[in-house]
Amino acid sequence: MTVLLFVAATMLLVMLIAIVRALLGPTIYDRILAVNLFGTKTVLLIAVLGFLFGRPEFLDIALIYALINFISVIAVLRYFEYGSSTDGTRENS
């Protein structure tokens, strides 16, 4: 119980760090890395929460995050690939 709580607290701390990194950037890759890291931490946090509150059968939520979390990475690669990390404005063109 205490150990699980400790793990959850660590996870929350690292989540805070990931938010800071997503905020600071500086490149789009840093931001997407932070979101990806955050996603994995959420998977683990939800799994730990299930055990902490004694209903571990709700792991489906963590499972779905584990499955589709990397979609946002693919979306970034799909829409912002190559060169748009420095300048993405297509306005005035």
Binding site: I46, L49, G50, I68, I74, R78, G88
Partner: protein, 334 residues
Amino acid sequence: MIVTQALDVVLLLLLVMTAVAIARVKDLFATVMLSGIYGLLSASFFVLMDAVDVAFTEASVGAGIFPLLMLAVLSFVGRYEADSKRRVALPVFLLTLVSGAVLLLATTQMPAFGGEDTPAQQHVAVRYIEDSPQEIGIPNMVTSVLASYRGFDTLGEVLVIFTATIGVVVVLLGVVQPGKARSLPADEDMADHKVLRIVGKMLIPLILLFALYVQFHGDYGPGGGFQAGVIFATGIILYAMLFGLSNAQRVLPMPLLRGLTALGVMIYGSVGVAGLLAGGNFLDYSVLASDPVSGQHLGILLIELGVGVTVASSMVLIFYAFSLTTSSDGSVER
């Protein structure tokens, strides 16, 4: 209990922090990423608040469709906000402060958080919790309420999704003349990301399979048509992103999707009418079979199927509409 409250406070503080960051950052790409984090955080919060079905929905929407749509639009409209010259921020800020203060004053009249005997926990909630496992015969009370007790509400929600999808398709694709339409813009199929494509190939069947599990396990655990539909659509969208839109359209062509979107709503409505014909009320499933409980089972199964079909095809259709529009360079009208 103290653990719940501590985690509650921390998660909510992180949420506020993220929201403020979204308000302050100028780079729209960063705000979309932060919105993704915001979604993940709120999903964790929903798990903490025992709302597993809600967390499931937020997980499938927030991790898949939402960032995707946002990024598709951003790639089209540009990434940076212009520095606006008209600064109206201060009066607006004061206004929000004042209205926030008024609302804050109102919270002192609210019943305390988490009480057992607050007004919200009286009336129908008691009945749902105490009677639904016997009356409907399925353990997931959220599904009971969603599909049976408040089935008419849900029909309305599905209709809203249906209508919004029609709106998206009309707004984005409506003006293109059918003659020269759909000369697919240089199909981006991410061919130089071989690893991604192979891993995608491994994962897509699993995602679709998991969607079916969520669809049919919704009576016993968190899940149901809404979540399953979104997850299923995510699998298809993943395929479309990795292997090109034209390939995805060969699997699920637009006309088929349009038909499916309507079909789901129709399944839902037909179940209601079937109830009428069998001598019950609209969306009363008890009369669908000889035994009321198995009638409820059948009704919920069919309704969730209708919801799943509509949601899945709507989401794929929305994605198609966006990628057809935004990947063609230049303006929409030509």
